[in-house]
């Protein structure tokens, strides 16, 4: 069983489109995250939810909207995609305090 699964694995789309990425964890963790990894491998947190409540929102454009229907799921919707959105997006979960993060395998988003 995959602990943190995200879909799709690859996403190729045109500028201006709207797309969603889904994430599910079966670890029973209370906290979930979205990270963006750029082409230089720099990993930056975007959002964090704890028990369905938003606790971190790191100066991410309003075009990005996370949604957590329950504590096992955290989806990411992106409106009006731009070239600079091309990156790998990772979902992760953890159980604070001090809990290590479990990452999904990433969604590779390419904007044409």
């Amino acid at each position: 069983d995959t602990a943190v699964s995200q879909t799709p694995k690859y996403l190729v789309t045109q500028m201006g489109n709207d797309k969603s990425i889904k994430c599910e964890q079966n670890l029973g963790h209370d906290t979930m995250y979205w990270y963006k990894q750029d082409s230089k491998k720099f990993l930056k947190i975007m959002f964090s939810y704890n028990n369905k409540e938003l606790i971190i929102n790191e100066t991410v454009p309003n075009r990005f909207s996370p949604k957590s229907p329950d504590k096992a799921h955290l989806n990411l919707h992106i409106n009006s995609l731009e070239l600079g959105d091309s990156a790998v997006y990772f979902c992760a979960s953890s159980q604070p305090p001090g809990g290590s993060k479990h990452f999904g395998d990433g969604t590779r988003l390419s904007i044409l």
């Binding site: 720099f42 990993l43 606790i55 001090g98 993060k101 990452f103 999904g104 395998d105």
Partner: protein
């Protein structure tokens, strides 16, 4: 606020040789420290973590790290590397206790040469 510095962006090393990947952090509060590994086309995987107690922490795949509070360092070591250790390694820091944001370093690419 906290920050993490991984001074080496790439570290080439011959197979079976020892390796040390450097990590320095800054924080005004007590910290938790982590090392993650990322293999190509995969997510990050925890190698080891320091929360409290013994400053020498052992992790998976034969890696270990030592927390040095006076030097604010958490360097990762392995006495003998294998080809399969070729990957990107990330150091990370968070404040200790409760919910704390984790800050990742910029990563070090370990290239094991046959």
């Amino acid at each position: 606020a906290q920050s993490v510095t991984q001074l080496d962006s790439q570290v080439p090393v011959f197979e079976e040789a020892p390796v040390e990947l450097r990590c320095n952090y800054s924080s005004s509060v007590s910290v938790y420290l982590f090392w993650y590994v990322q293999y190509p086309n995969q997510g990050l995987q925890l190698l080891l973590k320091y929360l409290s107690g013994s400053t020498l922490v052992k992790g998976i795949n034969g890696f270990e790290a030592e927390f040095n509070k006076s030097q604010t360092s958490f360097h990762l070591r392995k006495p003998s590397v294998h080809i399969s250790d070729t990957a990107e390694y990330f150091c990370a820091v968070s404040g200790a206790g409760g919910y704390q944001k984790v800050t990742f370093g910029t990563g070090t690419k370990l290239q094991v040469i046959p």
